[in-house]
Amino acid sequence: MHGLFREIVVIAWLALMGTLASLWLNPHKPQPFWEGEVSLSQVEAWKTSVIWIDARVSTEYDQGHIPGALLLNEDKWNELLGPVIMASNGKTPLVVYCDAHCNASLSVAQRLKKTGLDPVYLLKGGWESWKRAHP
């Protein structure tokens, strides 16, 4: 029993060392907080054109999306990124959305930022908020 406990402690310790090394080296650091979250009413108050980015899977996109929205999800990132880059001009805000309770938009927004596109925002409430406002 004592030997088993010692083994568990050693593994936990080695894992901690790996974690610390990873924290130091890993380029994909988690960013849990997103400051650029905007509500639909805020976006509509901007009175400027916006590039909508739909971060859901293509089947959901096909069933309905914000008019003019470009599909971009992590499943087909390389395939779908081209049209987004073409549409982006460095000034027009990119507003990413998914469903109401999902993190796909956060993930896509972070990757867009890393790609160098700017400004990037998240739509609070996602597709559900759009549907409520435009029944």
Partner: protein, 137 residues
């Protein structure tokens, strides 16, 4: 031979799952967050630490060092995973499993649970008296 194969398969599963998640903890963090069980800080800590636990346990399965400790850790983890999946299924959450860091487009609880229970059964076999002796032979 069969026991060694089982040990290698289980080791490979956890090693690959750990490496994929350790490579992109940001993504794994989001998968954990989707379960809506843990606070943000705990999810963040888990996103960094859990993959390395899996990697270390996977390696222990291959090199036969600290084998029983690794097996018990993985049994504990799998029980927690199964419980988390059951709770999320009951709550009707639409999420990504986060098991192998690959998004699959939608929730598939029955498949995920079946896979986890199979892995748990494999670990249970190894913990059996015969398994312990044979897997380390």
């Amino acid at each position: 031979m069969g026991w060694t194969l089982l040990r290698w398969i289980l080791g490979g599963i956890f090693l690959s799952a750990g490496v994929i998640k350790a490579w992109d903890p940001g993504r794994f963090f989001m998968d954990i967050s989707n379960y809506q069980i843990l606070p943000t800080t705990a999810s963040m800590a888990l996103a960094w630490y859990l993959p390395w636990i899996e990697i270390m346990c996977g390696l222990c399965f291959f090199c036969k060092r600290f084998f029983m400790g690794a097996t018990w850790i993985l049994v504990g983890l799998m029980v927690i995973f199964v419980a988390a999946l059951c709770v999320s299924w009951m709550r009707g959450l639409d999420l990504q499993c986060g098991c192998f860091g690959v998004s699959s487009g939608g929730s598939n609880y029955p498949i995920w649970l079946m896979r986890d229970l199979l892995i748990l059964a494999g670990l249970g076999l190894i913990l059996s008296k015969k398994g312990r002796a044979q897997a380390l032979a």
